[in-house]
């Protein structure tokens, strides 16, 4: 059965998931100016429908099967090998779910936006469409198009609805990302043309490109172009300096999405494209990426400890946490990669929640300086409890979700990169230092600033925003099996391909390491 026919027969769920928020964005723009009160309900409704569709996707996703599911393909221009090609595997499935889950929360957390409300909510919905598109695209041009589409609304969200230095931050965000985009576009075109030399016509199709045998030199150049672009997004040290500024200046929902999903696009890109399309370069460049990952883990944590602005602190903690993700990815072991993917989800939840919490206190006091708080647990016990709970998840305390990812990454990367894994375990200590110290300064002791004395504890809406995240943090910590079971085949497929195309062998250990011996015995 050829692809267009099959796409016509099956329900195009992925297209629907990507289009729903975009439609929502248009609907919001089409609302009459004087019906401002309808903007949030409409936007929220569309994002919730998207979440529903994503849940349906989860329910009908076949566990334990490698390869892409729900594929849709429509040829656009045959001679250039461009097609509208979508599909998900276990990894992109989790990313789609995370995105669809965080957006309704982010929208509901945006009630303090009062200027250009329609533009704001439309931007958020277009942003969601772009991100979802990035995660489901299987054609490199389509991928790039979504990647760029996503950039514009984010730029506006920071630049228009951001804090005092929003223009500086937005521009910095834009320039960093755009620089990466230019490299990636050149890389994509070069990749398609190189493939064309072998196939007789160029192709942008990811699945088709898997069959192309790229030379060693080509792999290195292309790996570099893609990795720089994705590394900026992750961000990998030393490409991270746009992140603290963007986070500090972005409105709450912007930070939630930025940390929660946007950064994951970089890590996702590394897994999807670098590891899969350029395996030889990947294997050779592991030491470089691992060094940068470990530096990121420790450097981000060290810098986080002395931040005076709580949002900056959380931003630097992201640098540290994403270092774990990158280490897990380039460990090139099943445990490490699965840990990296799970850690992407975990970081999205916990850091998303931390930014929500910071936003809640900011709305009350309009300051992000840690020194302006102190003793908050006395007046806001519920808020303090929520903050501590999420911090503990972020610190990697079992049985909360952060532990599962960190533990898998550390044990998995020890198998192939023992020295790096041991160094990375220092990050576990430092995370406790910066978060608990911040908690101590903001929440314990007597109330030192009069303005904090009358603060109201969390309201119903705020509890409703946090409750689903708290529930998932617990669930994924205690029972991560449903998530891991879906990721495992995808990860295994990637590692199998690396083993097949290079002389890399996933390190054997424990029982498996003994097998050859056992066979040798009479």
């Amino acid at each position: 059965m050829d692809a267009p026919l099959r796409a016509a027969m099956d329900f195009p769920i992925l297209s629907v998931i990507v289009l729903l928020p975009a439609v929502g964005g248009l609907m919001v723009l089409a609302l009459p100016r004087r019906r401002g009160e309808l903007v949030l309900p409409v936007a929220l409704a569309l994002s919730l429908i998207t979440l529903g569709a994503a849940c349906w996707l989860l329910a009908s996703f076949e566990t334990g099967v490698a390869g892409f599911q729900f594929e849709e393909q429509v040829i656009w221009y045959e001679p250039w090998g461009v097609s509208y090609h979508l599909g998900v595997d276990g990894i992109s499935l989790l990313m789609v779910l995370l995105t669809a889950f965080l957006f309704p929360i982010a929208l509901l957390a945006s009630t303090s936006i009062t200027t250009r409300v329609r533009g704001y909510f439309a931007s958020m919905l277009f942003l969601e469409a772009g991100i979802l598109g990035v995660f489901v695209a299987l054609d490199l041009l389509v991928f790039f198009a979504f990647w760029e589409v996503m950039l514009v609304p984010m730029y506006f969200i920071i630049g228009i609805w951001g804090g005092e230095r929003r223009i500086y931050a937005a521009l910095k965000f834009f320039l960093f990302t755009a620089l990466g985009s230019a490299l990636m576009l050149a890389g994509i075109l070069a990749l398609a043309l190189t493939a064309g030399d072998q196939l007789g016509r160029p192709t942008f199709d990811f699945v088709e490109l898997l069959g192309v045998d790229l030379g060693r030199a080509a792999q290195f150049w292309l790996f570099g172009a893609f990795a720089l672009s994705f590394g900026i997004k992750v961000p990998v040290f030393p490409l991270h300096t746009w992140l603290p500024d963007a986070h500090v200046e972005a409105p709450t929902a912007g930070s939630v999405i930025l940390a929660g999903v946007l950064l994951k696009m970089g890590a996702y890109g590394l897994i999807r494209f670098n590891l899969t399309l350029f395996p030889e370069a990947t294997v050779d460049l592991v030491p470089l990426l691992a060094v940068l990952a470990v530096i990121g883990i420790i450097y981000g944590a060290v810098v986080a400890t002395v931040q005076k602005d709580i949002k900056r602190l959380v931003a630097y903690s992201s640098v540290s946490h994403l270092g774990f993700v990158v280490l897990g990815i380039f460990a090139l072991t099943s445990q490490g990669l699965q840990g990296g993917v799970i850690q992407m989800v975990n970081h999205g939840l916990t850091t998303g929640a931390l930014f929500l919490l910071v936003g809640m206190i900011y709305e009350r006091r309009h300051t992000r300086q840690i020194a302006d708080y102190g003793g908050l647990a006395t007046v806001m016990p519920l808020f303090a409890g929520a903050f501590l709970f999420v911090s503990l998840a972020s610190i990697g305390l079992p049985p909360l979700n952060g532990f599962v990812g960190e533990f898998l990454v550390l044990l998995g990367s020890y198998l192939s990169l023992p020295g790096y894994a041991v160094a990375a375990s220092l990050g576990v200590v430092l995370a406790a230092v910066y978060l608990l110290w911040a908690y101590q300064r903001m929440f314990t002791g007597p109330i030192t600033v009069e303005a904090n004395r009358g603060l109201a504890d969390l309201g119903f809406r705020e509890v409703a925003l946090l409750a689903p995240i708290v529930a998932l943090v617990l669930f994924l910590g205690i029972f991560p099996k449903p998530a891991l079971d879906r990721v495992e085949p995808a990860v295994q497929g990637i590692l199998d391909r690396i083993e097949m195309t290079t002389d890399y062998q996933v390190p054997q250990f424990g029982i498996e390491a003994d097998l050859p011996e056992a066979e040798a015995r009479p």
């Binding site: 910095k172 490299l183 050149a186 043309l193 030399d197 079992p398 550390l410 002791g445 891991l484 029982i511």
Partner: protein, 626 residues
């Protein structure tokens, strides 16, 4: 699941459920209902542990594995419990002493605004500690390990409005995390070596597969974790500060149970330490060194709880020396009796503090025995027990450790000698505490009206006093009941043994003599003195704990902050980001030269990107591909 398996699972689920209920409704339940609920869940867990553990007493029962669910599939980790004599003993101590301390807390925490929250955390602690001791593998052990650390943090900083309490809680968590990092690395090594984290696999295959070098590395890293949790040198600094928590917390977590987790872990993984004699020796050396070191500091403390804190560190050192020497039963025996008498000492101290409306300074106590008869009688029992006076519980267990150390001969005799000296110091500082607090002249403030604690508190004191008095009978040289009970758990290990006949009597006589000497010395110095005469640089040095804590503060806290500031300001802002902004300025300058082309900042750059991509591609094509 069989009935026994359900019972063992309920051990954890009861206090866990209690904690969840109390967190949600603790405030509404109020006093004393919240405390009663908390006490009942732990009490019920004790009954279950006793029933389920009874099979081991009868003999013939063997260890049971209770599978729960698939937890971390990529590591092959299933959450599950292991019910064997060792975990049964720990469960009994934790729930038994735990229930009594919960009961006591109903009185102690009376009228505290956080009454419900207190019992929620205490229940969570008991559940976490049970996860730790009942785990059937390293992964779940680590879960319990971290959770008890969390509860310790929450309860030390229970009165979080006090900045010192909040700081002490954080310090405990962070110092423990340093040890945990070592623990984590140990788990990396274990997983790489065995491809599994379950005790059955790892401990079962270790003897045949693990090289001495790898076993040494793993066990030394495990010791790092154990030293953090059990407050051994050099990671002990958090425990004295932990006394900022309510006194029942100090009794339960920082004396009787959590801090013994390190000893338990060494005993549990004895197979690995057996393969690494160097590590076992290091365990013993760290233990006995810490025992003497902390005892010497305890001698000079004025705060009644800090004396007990350093005493706990010192007694844990004994247990480490015991398990390091392969005297696993003796180590676990001392763990058990110590849980009785040290919990009692803390609760007694709590009653004294309670009676004097919060006074903790020994210099402002004295002569309280008339006013606090029950507290005095029970504390005297605990004092004689920890000093090692026969036939109280502490004598039997401490003597067993010392005698076994002696019997191993060679350099172990030196360890024994240090242990004997520590026994003398122990009797001395404990007598000092008792004489200064309860006997001698009254030195408390004029307006104070010391009164005996309420019934709920004295009942708990009485029960613990009985255990501290008679708990030794479970393992005497004539009837080594505990040894038989634990035998299956330590099967196949190279166990150290007690010396025979006359030697044993001589050693026992020596340790009693040391205890008596300590008591007599203290009696001479403190029983009649109006005011302790403890002046001079030596006393000052001991009082400050040799200045180690201050040195840590300078090096790690202040030094670490300076490094972090430098990284933030010089490296990140000026270096990395400075480079980026410099590039930005450069681009803008070039941009201004090309101003005619400029139509808007972003659009300009957008155009630049496309042009850049085109240029890159053109270069690529001109090369004719790769």
């Amino acid at each position: 699941m069989e009935a026994g398996e359900v019972m063992v699972s309920l051990l954890i689920l009861l206090p866990l459920g209690g904690s969840a209920l109390l967190l949600a409704f603790g405030r509404r339940l109020g006093e004393p209902a919240a405390g009663v609920l908390g006490t009942l869940t732990v009490g019920a867990a004790f009954v279950l542990a006793a029933v389920a553990g009874g099979d081991f007493l009868a003999g013939g029962a063997h260890a049971t594995h209770i599978p729960w669910f698939d937890w971390l599939a990529p590591l092959g980790v299933r959450a599950g419990l292991l019910w064997d004599p060792l975990s049964a003993l720990m469960a009994l101590v934790v729930t038994g002493v735990g229930a009594l301390i919960h009961l006591y807390s109903i009185g102690y925490m009376k009228a505290d605004p956080g009454f419900g929250r207190f019992f929620a955390y205490m229940n969570l602690f008991v559940a976490s500690m049970l996860i730790l001791v009942l785990a059937d593998g390293f992964a779940l052990l680590f879960v319990g390990w971290e959770l008890v650390g969390l509860c310790s943090y929450l309860l030390i900083s229970f009165w979080f409005e006090k900045p010192v309490a909040a700081a002490a809680g954080k310090k405990a968590f962070v110092v423990n995390r340093v040890g945990d990092a070592g623990f984590l690395v140990a788990l990396m090594l274990v997983f790489a070596a065995f491809g599994s984290l379950s005790y059955e696999e790892v401990l079962g295959r270790a003897a045949g597969e693990l090289s001495t070098g790898m076993a040494t590395a793993i066990t030394l890293l495990l010791l790092m974790g154990a030293a953090g949790k059990s407050a051994q040198f050099p990671l002990y600094v958090w425990l004295p500060d932990a006394m900022e928590g309510p006194t029942p917390v100090s009794a339960l977590i920082h004396a009787a149970t959590m801090v013994t987790a390190g000893v338990f872990m060494v005993a549990r993984t004895g197979v690995l330490f057996d393969l690494a004699p160097v590590s076992a020796a290091v365990v013993a050396a760290v233990g006995i060194g810490t025992a003497l070191y902390a005892a010497s500091i305890a001698v000079a403390q004025y705060d009644i709880k800090r004396v007990l804190a350093y005493s706990t560190i010192s007694q844990l050192g004994y247990m480490f020396a015991g398990v390091g020497a392969g005297a696993y039963v003796a180590g676990m025996f001392h763990l058990t009796t110590h849980a009785f008498f040290k919990a009692l000492l803390f609760l007694g101290a709590g009653a004294v503090i309670h009676a004097l409306a919060g006074e903790q300074d020994l210099r402002r106590m004295g002569g309280l025995w008339r006013r606090l008869p029950v507290t005095t009688v029970t504390m005297v029992v605990a004092w004689l027990a920890i000093s090692g006076i026969p036939p109280l519980a502490g004598f039997w267990s401490k003597d067993e450790i010392l005698a076994t150390l002696f019997a191993r001969g060679g350099a172990w005799r030196a360890v024994w000698a240090v242990g004997l000296l520590t026994a003398l110091l122990t009797a001395f500082y404990m007598s000092r505490l008792i004489f200064l607090a309860l006997f001698g002249e009254r030195r408390w403030a004029e307006g104070a009206h010391p009164h005996e604690a309420p019934k709920v508190m004295t009942v708990a004191l009485g029960a613990l006093a009985v255990l501290a008095l008679a708990g030794g009978v479970v393992n005497t040289p004539w009837r080594p009941g505990l040894e038989h009970f634990l035998e299956p758990a330590f099967e196949g290990l190279d166990l150290a043994h007690l010396p025979s006949g006359a030697t044993q009597w001589v050693l026992a006589a020596l340790s009693v003599a040391a205890a008596a000497a300590g008591i007599l010395l203290a009696a001479g110095a403190y029983l009649r003195a109006r005011r302790p005469a403890e002046e001079g640089p030596t006393w000052e040095l001991l009082r400050r704990g040799y200045g180690v804590d201050e040195a840590y503060a300078r090096v790690f806290a202040a030094g670490g902050q300076a490094v972090a500031r430098f990284t933030d300001e010089a490296v990140d802002q000026k270096g990395v980001d400075g480079l980026v902004n410099g590039l930005g300025v450069l681009v803008r300058t070039v941009g201004e030269r090309l101003r005619p082309l400029q139509t808007g900042f972003v659009r300009q750059y957008g155009l630049g990107i496309v042009l850049g991509a085109v240029a890159l591609l053109a270069w690529f094509l001109s090369r004719g591909g790769f």
